[in-house]
Amino acid sequence: MTEVSIEKLTKDYGQGPAVNAISIKIAEGEFISLLGPSGCGKTTTLKMIAGFEDATEGAIRFDGSDVVRVPVEKRDIGMVFQNYALFPHMTVEKNLAFGLEMRKVSRAQIREKIAKVLDMVQLAGYAERYPRQLSGGQQQRVALARALVIEPKILLLDEPLANLDAKLREEMRVFIRDLQRRVGITTVYVTHDQAEAMTMSDRVVVMFGGRIAQIGTPSDIYERPASLEVAEFVGQVNIIRGKVNGGIVATAFGDVPVSGNLAEGTELMLALRPEAVELLPAGSGAGVFAKVLSSYYSGSLVDYRLELENGARVNVQAFPRTRFADGERVLVHAPAERFWPLGATA
């Protein structure tokens, strides 16, 4: 197990930094996701960890020793590529043996390790197949097995689920996460899919424009986003604006106490997730009135677009236990602790 430490890592292709002095400490066995829109530097960061790109500045330490000058083939990494990159002219067995042969492992041991890893990815009996004879999900598992069979220091995954259909993608999330836990390998996972990052990771690194916007557990970045950008990237969010007045922000939902030493009169943005809002039939209790503008039913949830009495619009997500019709007056209620201050607006 390896601890990875990225220190002030920078990549500049000549038109300003693509990755700008980022620092991340990854604990032994931790599953970290680099999450961000395309062009945010997440893939470049992964390539620098792997050694496919040189770092312009900074250090990458595996268990304390800097690997920035170490070529890819000596870094002892396992990598899964977006398109799997299985060798089409080799059978599954030969694909899996490749890395072991490079490490001069004996024939008998190779056979043993391959049998074990094929079992692990539930592909026993597929050793003689060529990649083109496998389904997308099976190819994905071979790619994982090929990266893991060499028992690398760290596992790097570059959007490995992007080419799978939705149902398989969800299965593979669980599969990869379980496998990673069982093997206990330090893992860096690159994705632009926030759901993927949140469901799989111990911690998520949100990146924008080559910089780290926030590092935190999935619930940190979802419930306590560091900025409006992060809040919007990791899910739907309602932004409620208000002025600080005696430690309290007055909103259409009522007074929300805010902590911290904020100057009187500061304009604040509060993030409110759609599912944090409770919807009740009119006249059934506390809350403020709102009108249902439209609703979108998706089976397990209903998305409502509401208009508050002051004209502000709010998105609310609710279980379809009680359904409200378009145009119906409802009561909305949001607990004060679900409002998250995003900092002062400029």
Binding site: M79, A85, H89, F98
Partner: protein
Amino acid sequence: MNAAPAGKGLGPLLLIAPAAVLIGLFLVLPYLNIVVMSFRMPGQGTPYAPGFTFGNYGKFFADSFYILQVVNTLWIGFLTTFLCLVLGYPVAWQLARGNSAFRAVGYGLVLSPLLVGIVIRSYGWTILLGNNGIINRTLSNWGIIDAPLPLMYNALGIVIALVHVFLPFMILPIMSAIQGIDPSLESAARSLGASKVTSFRRITLPLSLPGIQAGCILVFVLSLSAYVTPSLIGGLRVKTMAVTVVDALIDTFQWPFGSALALMLSITGAVVVVAFGRLTVMKWKV
């Protein structure tokens, strides 16, 4: 559009009809004629005489001159193919993977010889390779050689000129094969611990085999049947099979024997190509 399933109806047949007629009339029929001709009796003062015989083939196998010439022609073909492969592969690689500015220029350079007729190019080589040619004169002016190097009227000269003429036919198929290889495969090999050299040897080279195969077959077949270049550069001293066939047909007017020689050349070429195809069969391709 008629939505008939493929293989049904006249549509597909009609589409290939023009090509089929062309090939039938101008390739299959003449070929059959050559086969028939090779069994005809040699004539006196006429191209052939009435009646049929195996004698033309007997003459071929009885005379080691012709056997040796086939061997010689094959040897020239092998050498040309091999040199084209060795010289062409790095160029194909650069064209497929190099930076884009180089690729445009390089592609033009590789194709440009095809714009010049083969006769002119072969004449060009006689100017370069002759005893009094540019190469020999330059070398002797510099005092590197005393007597001119024998570059013309031998197999070496023919091979040099053929390599030049056929190089594009090796480069282009290999280039397109390399372009078809996903660069992330090499990255994957590197990530698994392979050096750049090993990743080329174990991944890129085998995956470019379809291009190598196509290029080799093309160049080899073209070399065997090349006429202009060997006749200009080989002169009277070194003859390839193609030159001898034309001699027999036109100079000595022996149509039946010339046909038999032509067929022997075709058959040997075909045997080599099939054997090569068998040797380089790729199990991983469909």
